[in-house]
């Protein structure tokens, strides 16, 4: 479909999602007494901050025409290992360095498999998530559930549970990660290269962009961001449950990225899209929780919205010759 077939009044997907979010905000503010308070709006963002940070990591992979299905496994096992090391007497600073090292190593293997072994990202990272979980769970972790005990009274605990001038740290860290990722993608040379690579890898390569090292960098960065998300999650609930690997969290992450308007075909979208998508889910879930909507119904509503987003995505960002040859991912 050539661009000339698009309706002239078309909105971008991001604009549509912003409109839906604002409509929900107004609806909830009018109908729910306790919705539009500073406390609740901060709580709303706090509740989706981990989702949002993982969304930033996922967006980075998707914009570069990849995907990282291993981020949830990576964050769970690397941070669980940090807690366990510290519970066993390792100073928390050293435990963090070791855990981060583990996360980066998993990212490095992802990047290597995608860039050099040339396995499609969806398979490489899907397999790597399982391998990382199985390896770390059986060789390094004593339990599925690791409590934060050794470092419970240190600055480490403050990361996910503290606040600065009334704003929860997790909200601030989400903002920080988003700003840094935005600046890197928009201003720095590797950031621009990731867009180029996502848009057209062959052309990018022909112009001399070092595609393979760039792919490795992309997955290592995604792993580092996932580690940050894991630390916040662990310190906010005093524990890591590695069972989260088996949950639907990674699909929720893809949901916020895609719904915000980052095209699965790569090269399109920005961190702003991730924030928009995250806020939509945040507002929706927060409102439904206050209204005490039954759990099953919440899932139906959430998944209908994913479906709508994907339909809109395919209408707004039509397949081109390249995607029809290479597939969407």
């Amino acid at each position: 479909m050539s661009p000339s077939f698009r309706p002239a009044f078309a909105f971008t997907q991001e604009q549509i999602v912003v409109a839906i979010t604002l409509a929900l905000l107004v609806l909830f503010s009018v109908t729910l007494d306790s919705f539009l308070t500073a406390g609740n709006i901060l709580a709303l963002i706090q509740n989706v901050s981990i989702l949002g940070i993982l969304g930033v990591a996922m967006a980075l992979a998707i914009i570069g025409r990849g995907i990282d299905l291993s981020i949830v496994a990576n964050m769970a096992v690397s941070v669980a290992w940090v807690l366990q090391l510290s519970n066993n007497g390792v100073p928390i600073e050293i435990a963090i360095v070791m855990g981060l090292g583990l996360a980066l190593a998993i990212g490095l293997v992802n990047g290597f498999l995608v860039a050099y072994v040339e396995i499609p990202a969806i398979f490489a990272t899907l397999a790597m998530g399982t391998v990382a979980y199985g390896f770390v769970r059986s060789l390094l972790l004593e339990d599925n559930l690791i409590y934060l005990k050794g470092a419970a009274d240190t600055w480490f605990k403050w990361i996910g549970s503290g606040q600065v001038v009334g704003i929860p740290n997790s909200v601030l860290l989400f903002g920080l990660v988003a700003v840094v990722a935005h600046v890197v993608l928009r201003i720095t040379v590797p950031g621009r290269f990731i867009y180029a690579m996502g848009d057209n890898p062959t052309a990018a390569r022909s112009t001399g962009i070092p595609i393979r090292p760039l792919i490795v960098l992309q997955y290592v960065t995604a792993a580092a961001i996932a580690f940050v998300a894991g630390v916040i999650a662990a310190t906010s609930v005093d524990s890591v449950e590695t069972r989260i690997v088996r949950s639907n969290l990674v699909y929720d992450v893809i949901l916020v990225v895609v719904i915000g308007g980052v095209g699965l075909s790569g090269g399109k979208g920005s961190i702003r899209n991730v924030i928009v998508g995250t806020l939509l889910i945040g507002v929706l879930v927060n409102g439904m929780t206050i209204m005490n909507v039954a759990y099953t119904l919440q899932n139906i509503i959430k998944s209908l919205i994913l479906l709508t987003a994907i339909v809109i995505d395919s209408l707004m960002n039509p397949r081109d010759e390249q995607t029809s040859q290479q597939g969407d991912i």
């Binding site: 306790s34 709580a43 609930v237 524990s239 449950e241 949950s247 927060n286 206050i290 005490n292």
Partner: protein, 350 residues
């Protein structure tokens, strides 16, 4: 015959060794001394030796299943039965597969820990039909099998609700608003628990459920929901949580809101030290109903011993219920032995 001969010879050697040692040092305590046959000990041991026991937990690696497995491992070693643990790691499909695989291997007893009420019902009936006795652990399935060992979820939720009524009901001077955090909706914990909560609250109309949500046993999800519920209901009086590992997320949300001690949190679980008593001691949980997984491990050991020694004539036709005695743990009743420690149970047995 051969065995008999060898046994006789062993006895001779043993006797000779005994004489020698006693003669040399005058010591009589020998580890390998054989117990005289009292008419039961040898017979019961022989009935268990070489038998096959299969165990399909929801997953290994968490307090409940690790404690139960520690009990079975202890007995497998002591009585020489063969124990096979198939870990489906939280996958219902993989669990069902492992269960049917076990059935085809025809063990002498299968121990299952059903992830939800319906998932294993047909398989339990199938195992029984093939003459294999089935022991179900802690989560009741629609088919009872031969022995059920575990908590009575209705009873637990009644006790939890009574505890919350004490904190939030008449005479407490509180709002009476409470929130319920369920785990997975198809799990018996929720299915029977929610009925018990609603039935108990009928007698206490002053206590109202303002939020009833599910968090998939995930502490982070429970945390997110609790943060919202606390903001939306500033006068919330308490939470009922359905599993300690998830409820720490609610506790973290209460702490963040600066309301520890003010908002009650009634939790339940297997009563291991780190999840239960530590959280009662530090004020995270105001009341905790323990179904003592260490005690369950012992119940399981005994049930398996009993089924191996005396196999039901027609497995599945007569079910025995061994409901776990519940412990209510509060700051006042948090005595040093109220909880158990997984490392110790693994090391020293239940």
């Amino acid at each position: 015959m051969l065995d008999h001969g060898r046994k006789a010879m062993n006895r001779c050697i043993l006797a000779a060794a005994l004489t020698a040692i006693v003669g040399l040092s005058g010591l009589a305590a020998i580890a390998h001394a054989e117990q005289p046959d009292d008419g039961l000990v040898n017979e019961s041991a022989a009935a268990m030796k070489g038998k096959k026991v299969g165990f399909v937990p929801i997953a290994m690696g968490f307090d409940l299943t690790e404690a139960w497995a520690a009990g079975l491992k202890h007995d497998a070693e002591a009585f020489g039965y063969d124990l096979s643990i198939r870990d489906p790691n939280w996958s219902v499909d993989a669990g069902a597969q492992a269960f049917s695989q076990l059935i085809s291997e025809q063990p002498d007893v299968i121990v299952v820990h059903p992830p939800e009420i319906q998932a294993y019902t047909r398989l339990i009936q199938q195992a029984n039909a093939q003459g294999i006795p089935v022991v179900t652990m802690n989560l009741k399935a629609d088919a009872n099998g031969d022995v059920f060992i575990g908590a009575n979820w209705y009873d637990i939720a009644v006790k939890q609700t009574e505890a919350i009524v004490k904190s939030c009901g008449q005479g407490s001077g509180k709002s009476g608003k409470i929130a319920v955090m369920q785990g997975v909706l198809t799990n018996p914990t929720s299915q029977y628990g929610i009925q018990a909560i609603e039935a108990t609250l009928k007698q206490h109309p002053e206590v109202q459920i303002v939020s009833n949500q599910a968090a998939d046993w995930d502490a982070s999800k429970a945390h997110a929901i609790a943060v919202t519920v606390l903001k939306a209901n500033p006068d919330l009086c308490g939470f009922i949580g359905m599993w300690d590992n998830m409820d720490v997320g609610i506790a973290a949300a209460i702490k963040e809101a600066g309301k520890t001690g003010e908002v009650a949190l009634v939790s339940s679980g297997g009563g291991n030290q780190a999840s239960a008593c530590d959280n009662v001691a530090n004020g995270n949980f105001s009341t905790y109903i323990s179904y003592d997984a260490k005690g369950q491990a012992r119940d399981l050991m005994m049930a398996v011993r009993s089924v191996l020694q005396s196999k039901p004539a027609e497995p599945g036709t007569k079910s025995i219920a061994l409901y776990t005695p519940l412990k209510t743990i509060t700051k006042e009743s948090n005595y040093p032995g109220a909880c158990w420690n997984l490392d110790d149970v693994k090391k020293y047995g239940p």
